[in-house]
Amino acid sequence: MSRIQIAATERSPQVDFDFATGRLCLRGESYPEDAAAFFGPLLQALRGHLGASEPEPITFEVALAYFNSSSAKALMNLFMPLEDAAAEGRPVTIRWLYAAGDETIAEAGEDFAADFDHARFELVAEGHS
C-alpha cells in the first residue's frame, strides 16, 4: 500500500498518507465514533511501511483544529514508531500546524514535542484565513 487517502468527515480528519513520497498528512477535526477503527489501519500501514522500506525521509503533517482524548492516544501511537525510526537514523519531521491564535492546539503541540528526541518537531502557526 503506497497511499491512503480518506476524505474528512464532521468527526474525522482528512487523511493523506503518501508513503511513496514520504508525506503523511492529517487535517481537520478528530473525535471519531470509534477511534481504534479509524486510526488502527493507519497505524498498521505506518508500521508496515517503516519496517519494509529504505530509510527515506518522512514528513508527518498534523493540522488538527480539534481532537479528543482517544485521538490524542492514537497520535502518540503514530508518533512512537516514527521516533523509533528517527532513532535508527531515518530523517523524520513532524510538522504540528495550528491556526494562529489557537493556544489550546499550540500547547498540545508543545506537549507532544517533548516526546521526540530524534525526530524533528516543528510548531507552525497558520495564518487567519
Binding site: 477535526e29 473525535y31 477511534a35 480539534y66 479528543n68 482524548s69 482517544s70 492516544k73
Partner: protein, 271 residues
C-alpha cells in the same frame, strides 16, 4: 568419659560428614532459589494485575473524556452556528436601517424642498430662519415677482412656472451657501442672510433684483423678461421673527407701491 551409644556415634558422623554434602548443598540452594523465584513470580503477577487495572482505568477515563469532549464540541458548534445566524440577522438589520435612513433622508429632502424650483419649502425656510434670526445680526428679504398674474394669464402656466424656476435659480446662484432661500408660496420668495447688516443686505437685494431683470424666460416664440420687488428687514435686538416678517412684508409692499422692480430697505432708504 561419657559413653557413646552406637546410634549417637552414627548421628555425629552424619552431622559432620556426608558423602553427598555437595549435592545436598545444591539441593538446598535450589530450594532457596525456587522459593525466591515463586516470590518473583508472585511479584510479576501483582505487577501485571496492577498494570491491567491501570490500563482499564485509563480506558475508562479516555472514554469518559471523549464523551465530555464530544458534548463540548457539539455545544461549541451550536454556539458558532448561533453566532453566524446572529451575524446574518445583524447584517440584515443594519441593511434595513440603512435603507430606512436613506428613505427618511429622501422623504425629508422632499418635504424640505419645493419640487418646482428646488428652493426650500416655507416650513423649512422658517425653521432655518428662526435659527439665523436667533444667532445674531441678519437680514430678511421678501421677494415677489412683478406682474406674475399677467405672465400666467398672458403666456400660460408653463411660462409662469419657467419664470419661477429661472428666478429661483438666479437667486440661488447669487446667494452664499450660508444664506437660506425658499419659496413662501405662489410667486413670493424669501431669503435669510446671516451676519449681514442693512447696507450689505440691501446690496445683495439689489444684486438679485438686477440679475432677475437681466434674466430671460424662453417662450415658444421669443422670450420674456421678468422683474422682482424686494422688501428688506434688518434684525433688531429682541424682535421676534414674526414681527420681522411683518416688517419685510411692509417693505415689499412699499417697493411695489414705489413702482416695482426695486428694493425697499427702511433702514437705509428712510422710513
Amino acid at each position: 568419659m561419657p559413653q557413646r551409644s552406637a546410634t549417637g556415634l552414627k548421628h555425629a558422623v552424619e552431622d559432620n560428614f556426608s558423602l553427598f554434602d555437595a549435592e545436598e548443598a545444591i539441593i538446598g540452594r535450589t530450594e532457596v532459589m525456587l522459593s525466591r523465584l515463586s516470590e518473583v513470580a508472585e511479584g510479576v503477577q501483582e505487577l501485571a494485575g496492577a498494570y491491567r487495572r491501570g490500563t482499564r482505568e485509563q480506558r475508562r477515563l479516555v472514554r469518559m473524556s471523549d464523551r465530555m469532549q464530544l458534548e463540548l464540541q457539539r455545544v461549541n458548534q451550536r454556539m458558532a452556528e448561533q453566532q453566524r445566524e446572529l451575524q446574518a440577522l445583524n447584517e440584515a438589520l443594519s441593511g434595513e436601517i440603512e435603507h430606512r435612513t436613506r428613505l427618511e433622508a429622501e422623504l425629508r429632502r422632499l418635504a424640505d424642498t419645493d419640487h418646482l424650483t428646488g428652493a426650500l419649502t416655507r416650513r423649512r425656510l422658517l425653521e432655518i430662519g428662526e435659527r439665523i434670526w436667533a444667532s445674531g445680526p441678519a437680514c430678511l428679504l421678501m421677494l415677489d415677482l412683478d406682474h406674475f398674474k399677467h405672465i400666467n394669464d398672458g403666456h400660460g402656466h408653463a411660462a409662469g412656472d419657467a419664470a419661477l424656476v429661472i428666478f429661483a435659480s438666479v437667486c440661488q446662484t447669487s446667494l452664499r451657501p450660508c444664506d437660506a432661500f425658499g419659496r413662501m408660496g405662489g410667486e413670493e420668495f424669501a431669503a435669510f442672510l446671516p451676519e449681514t447688516d442693512a447696507a450689505a443686505g440691501r446690496a445683495v437685494a439689489e444684486t438679485l433684483r438686477r440679475a432677475a431683470a437681466e434674466a430671460a424666460v424662453p417662450l415658444e416664440m421669443g422670450s420674456l423678461s421678468i422683474s422682482v420687488s424686494v422688501g428688506l428687514a434688518a434684525s433688531r435686538a429682541g424682535e421676534t421673527l414674526a414681527a420681522a416678517l411683518r416688517r419685510a412684508d411692509a417693505a415689499l409692499y412699499a417697493a411695489k407701491a414705489g413702482g416695482r422692480n426695486r428694493v425697499w430697505c427702511p433702514e437705509t432708504d428712510g422710513a
